[in-house]
Symmetry: C2
Subunit: 204 residues, 2 copies
């Protein structure tokens, strides 16, 4: 999916197929946020004024590049996880054995479809640390790019968490759903506060 | 730029060139939000349960598709506007005449670089109406996609407005800067309230 053009991707999102949808778009948001932080680090490196932050900027550039690639792969993984659930629903359900197999496949598929966006949410949360660092210590000519990175990360995390929650409703394993719900609630509260804090540094 | 793959686009954002940056990414966010609302309309059309909203969903699909295309073109327009300003700064400034021409070119370029993201912000704001409609009356199986559309629009508008404001600082025409600042402040307040209102419909 990362090999689709922006136009093609927008058009397949817009189509009457349920995927790629919000889950894949969440991963795109995280990916673009990482790209913006990487850019601000790049625009800071080599500038005399920021020499004391040079080492940190190299680390941010490296980390941002890794997380950008990771999320790029999750654009597709999220859609694949959805398809796994849909395939499970299409399994035969005539005999008790078939019914049991189908039920298990739906349960396992739904767990995967919740686990993938939770991973997107955690990965995007990591990216917020990079956005914060470039807002505070990056090239001030690129502060708006750094602030956009922070807002994009917030949207990536919240969007991914919606996709975690919607999948929990199809899972009967209560230990799993309680654990995922707790993680999601905690991460939601954290990212909302984190974005608020970073936007307070905005000169605008 | 819309013909770049997602991977290529992420990599040119991440590079040490200042554009494409947050302004182009804002347009991408608006474009993907429109695409998600279009998808939810598509997933609602033809479903018995939603027959009373069928006409509205066709209108949303049409409108979303138009705004998606419009924002797709703004991905590139935003970067071009930035380059116009940079070209102006590179003009010769030896003679008084050259200085005067350069000053005018910077002023006009900066006005364009503020006007383009304001257009992205207004266009993205229009998309919020589509997101609200599909959250409220679209296929409830796709409610998370509709909510992601709303969050993306908020980020598109706020990100574009940051790019309006950063360009105002290079403009000496006070009538222009006051007018743009007022428009930006109003739109910021409106989009924050609008997103808040829509997210209150979330079942999660």
């Amino acid at each position: 999916m990362k090999n689709m053009t922006l136009e093609q991707f927008a058009n397949v999102v817009a189509s009457n197929e349920p995927v790629p949808g919000g889950g894949s778009v969440a991963a795109v948001c995280g990916m673009l946020s990482a790209a913006l932080s990487e850019m601000v680090a790049n625009l800071t490196i080599g500038k005399k004024k920021y020499v004391e932050h040079e080492k940190e900027m190299f680390e941010i550039k490296e980390k941002a590049s890794q997380l950008k690639s990771k999320l790029m792969d999750y654009i597709e993984k999220d859609s694949n996880a959805y398809n796994t659930v849909m395939d499970a629903y299409r399994l035969p359900k005539e005999t008790p054995e078939e019914k049991e197999i189908r039920k298990l496949a739906i349960e396992e598929g739904s767990k995967l479809a919740a686990a993938i966006p939770l991973e997107v949410a955690y990965t995007s949360y990591e990216i917020m640390h990079l956005a914060e660092a470039v807002v505070l210590r990056g090239n001030s000519n690129a502060i708006t790019d750094a602030l956009v990175a922070a807002m994009l990360t917030r949207t990536a995390v919240l969007s991914a968490l919606l996709n975690v929650r919607v999948n929990l409703s199809s899972i009967s394993d209560e230990e799993f759903t309680v654990r995922y719900k707790e993680k999601s609630d905690l991460l939601e509260a954290k990212i909302l506060n984190y974005e608020k804090k970073i936007l307070e540094y905005s000169p605008f």
